[in-house]
């Protein structure tokens, strides 16, 4: 579910003008970046491990259909029901129908970006089914009636002061002491009874294990287990690309995921669920449903975005992105923010609505450097820029400007004359080595200086050297 209520430029302007947002984003992303660096340093073979992780995902994507069928057969054999959805609407309808058939009045939801992608919170509300978000950050977001701004820390944009005010307004027995520990305790009190009383537990899946039919969740809080064990029904919504062939493959990916996301060797709670409660089991749901969601993934595989299907949703790309660190996640407008979001959002929401995201990138390559599955994010973003140009989606001023440039560039004498004039003019604008005010580009030089160009153009210097 997206929030394209204004243009990207307006959203980014609003984010940059928010004095609190940058502090909040910097506190969490900065910590995450530092912790990842320590974790990677302590794993000497991390670079080779990234190659292997990419190879595992590429293998799965190449044989995706067969692995999905294997997973389906094993999940059914374990007693789960498997459903397939091509679109977000189909996925939501399946989930709501299962909830209604179970007579569910309330669901406990463990954080899932796929759930956000298909608009499940909205669909549950429309169906009149109560929803308890059990991840602490998602709980904050639910109370604030906002959207997640990060895939690992959805409430990254909130400061402790804002969270404190929110809990005091909404919790039945809020904290008295102004500490983060006291706020977390307030949420613990508030959520526990709601989790234990839910009729249905809904989760995503970090991995689907083809050869056992198990689904894997990872959380630091243990909220997935508390949301999924007590209810009568467990519903899983998962993207079809989450498949791995076997447990040892999942183990390799888990080593990469935790280090890249939070800098830990492993997330505190890693659980593999294989079907519903067994005979004699003292807890666990009576029924387990797994909804496998396409929503554009098969198209990505066919249309040059197969590498993006490697993504394991660790969030490292956004933690290291200079643009994300300035504007936070909401300005991106889609379900997924940051570099991976800028690649995915045009798939889910259309390039016309989101083409500016591909330009919200300096192409410094930092995202690709830290990606645990080596997704060439800058290349994929450039692909969207090219497609946007080919499809005529760029604004008229841009097309006209580039058209003029191309016309001149095809006339070398005119081009050299023009660049010569520009160089001489720019020489006059700066007394030192820098230009601090540039006509027609005042916005650019308002916050930084432009280096003064060389006294002569390259071609002038080249000709002079040849004459010697």
């Amino acid at each position: 579910m997206s929030g394209f209520t204004a243009s990207f430029k307006d959203r980014a302007d609003a984010a940059l003008a928010d004095p609190i947002l940058k502090v909040a984003v910097e506190r969490t992303a900065g910590t995450a970046q530092a912790k990842r660096a320590v974790a990677v340093e302590a794993f000497p073979d991390f670079e080779a491990a990234r190659d292997r992780a990419a190879a595992i995902k590429d293998h799965v994507i190449a044989h995706l259909g067969a692995y999905l069928e294997e997973f389906e057969a094993n999940a059914i054999a374990a007693g789960a029901r498997v459903h397939w959805a091509s679109t977000t609407d189909e996925a939501c309808r399946i989930v709501i129908d299962i909830c209604k058939a179970a007579g569910a009045k309330s669901v406990a939801r463990s954080k899932s970006m796929l759930g956000e992608e298909i608009g499940l919170p909205h669909a549950l509300a429309e169906a009149g089914i109560g929803r308890v978000e059990t991840d602490l950050a998602e709980h904050i977001i639910q109370l604030a009636d906002e959207r997640p701004s990060h895939i690992i820390w959805p409430a990254m944009h909130k400061t402790r002061e804002q969270v404190s005010a929110l809990f005091k307004a909404k919790h039945r027995s809020p904290h008295q002491e102004e500490t983060i520990a006291a706020m977390a305790e307030s949420a613990r009190r508030e959520l526990r009874t709601q989790m234990l009383g839910a009729d249905v537990g809904i989760s995503g899946a970090n991995f689907l294990i083809a050869d056992t039919g198990a689904i894997c969740t990872v959380t630091n809080e243990g909220n997935a287990e508390l949301s999924l064990v007590p209810p009568r029904v467990h519903i899983v919504t998962a993207g079809i690309e989450k498949i791995v062939p076997s447990m040892p493959h999942a183990i390799h990916m888990l080593r990469m995921l935790a280090r890249s996301a939070t800098g830990a060797a492993l997330t505190q709670y890693t659980t593999f669920y294989t079907g519903p409660k067994r005979v004699g089991d003292r807890d666990g749901p009576e029924a387990m449903h797994i909804v496998l969601v396409d929503n554009g993934r098969t198209k990505m595989r066919e249309e040059g975005l197969a590498e993006m299907l490697r993504c394991i949703r660790c969030g490292a790309c956004m933690n290291h992105c200079v643009v994300f660190r300035q504007i936070g996640g909401h300005a991106y407008g889609g379900t997924y923010p940051g570099p991976m979001g800028a690649v995915l959002t045009p798939v889910f929401d259309g390039l016309k609505e989101s083409r500016e995201l591909a330009s919200a990138c300096t192409l410094n390559g930092k995202c690709q450097e830290v990606c645990p599955v080596r997704i060439p994010l800058p290349t994929l973003l450039k692909g969207w820029r090219e497609k946007s140009w080919r499809e005529g989606l760029e604004p008229r001023s841009m097309r006209w400007g580039l058209g003029v440039w191309a016309w001149v560039a095809r006339r070398p004498a005119l081009y050299r004359f023009g660049t010569g004039v520009a160089v001489r003019a720019m020489q006059m604008l700066g007394k030192t080595g820098w230009i601090n005010r540039l006509p027609l580009a005042g916005g650019w030089t308002q916050y930084r200086d432009m280096p003064k160009p060389a006294p002569q153009t390259f071609m002038n210097q080249y000709k002079k050297e040849r004459r010697r």
Binding site: R27, A29, A32, A42, F43, P44, F46, A49, R52, H59, H63, G65, A66, L68, W84, S86, A137, I140, P154, T159, R160, V163, I180, A184, E185, R188, L191, M195, G213, N220, E221, G222, E225, L226, V229, P230, P245, M247, P248, H249, I251, A265, L266, Q268, Y269, T270, T271, F272, Y273, T274, G275, P276, R278, G280, D281, R282, G284, D294, R301, E302
Partner: protein, 203 residues
């Protein structure tokens, strides 16, 4: 056409070659672990801030109630315990304890037996069964775990069961924690705030 058929028709391709999938796992990169000092390696990971579990050691399982009492007394908790119906635990002498096998929503302490300990991460490995419910381990404030030293393995590859899978197979690597408010780490987000491992050194 059903959604299933539509999706699978878009994914037509050769069936995966098992050998190719296996080849992806030859000599996987793994964190360094001294296999001659597994207990020390495991305990070192257990002490990391991200795991932050305490530990004790006993020589025989008969010493378990005394070790649990020692821990609860030190924590200022009553000798009240949620005990799963595992015959190895039921055989211990729990005189002086108040025992129950269903966890209360505000359960203070629960005991469980880990099938394996993993040295590379300080993880404890569990499975569900009629003798091993899952919920108490996530509801309780103090999670107390018995782990035999001989069950400590170097790497996570030793964690899964081969063959038929239980309803849930899970790894616990620390306490319920959150960094959701400004990236600050807080223990006891929803579940256990304390994890205490009792090593059984019996051969």
């Amino acid at each position: 056409m059903s959604a299933r058929d539509a999706i699978l028709s878009r994914l037509k391709g050769a069936a995966p070659d098992k050998a190719e999938a296996d080849a992806l796992l030859v000599a996987p990169e793994r964190p360094m672990v001294d296999e001659d000092a597994l207990e020390a390696e495991f305990l070192a990971r257990l002490a990391l801030p991200s795991v932050s579990a305490s530990h004790d050691a006993i020589d025989t399982i008969a010493d378990l109630p005394a070790a649990v009492a020692r821990y609860l007394d030190a924590q200022g908790e009553a000798r009240s315990l949620c005990l799963p119906p595992d015959p190895r635990l039921m055989a211990c002498d729990w005189r002086g304890f108040t025992l129950h096998d269903v966890a209360a929503p505000d359960e203070a302490a629960a005991l469980a037996i880990a099938r394996r300990g993993i040295a590379e991460s300080g993880s404890l490995v569990f499975e569900t069964s009629p003798q091993a419910p899952m919920l108490p381990n996530f509801l309780t404030l103090h999670h107390i775990v018995l782990l035999a030293v001989r069950d400590i393995a170097a790497h996570l590859e030793a964690a899964p069961l081969v063959g038929a899978q239980p309803r849930a197979h899970y790894w616990i690597t620390g306490v319920s924690g959150t960094t959701d408010i400004e990236g600050s780490y807080v223990r006891g987000a929803h579940g256990p705030r304390f994890l205490h491992v009792i090593l059984l050194r019996e051969q």
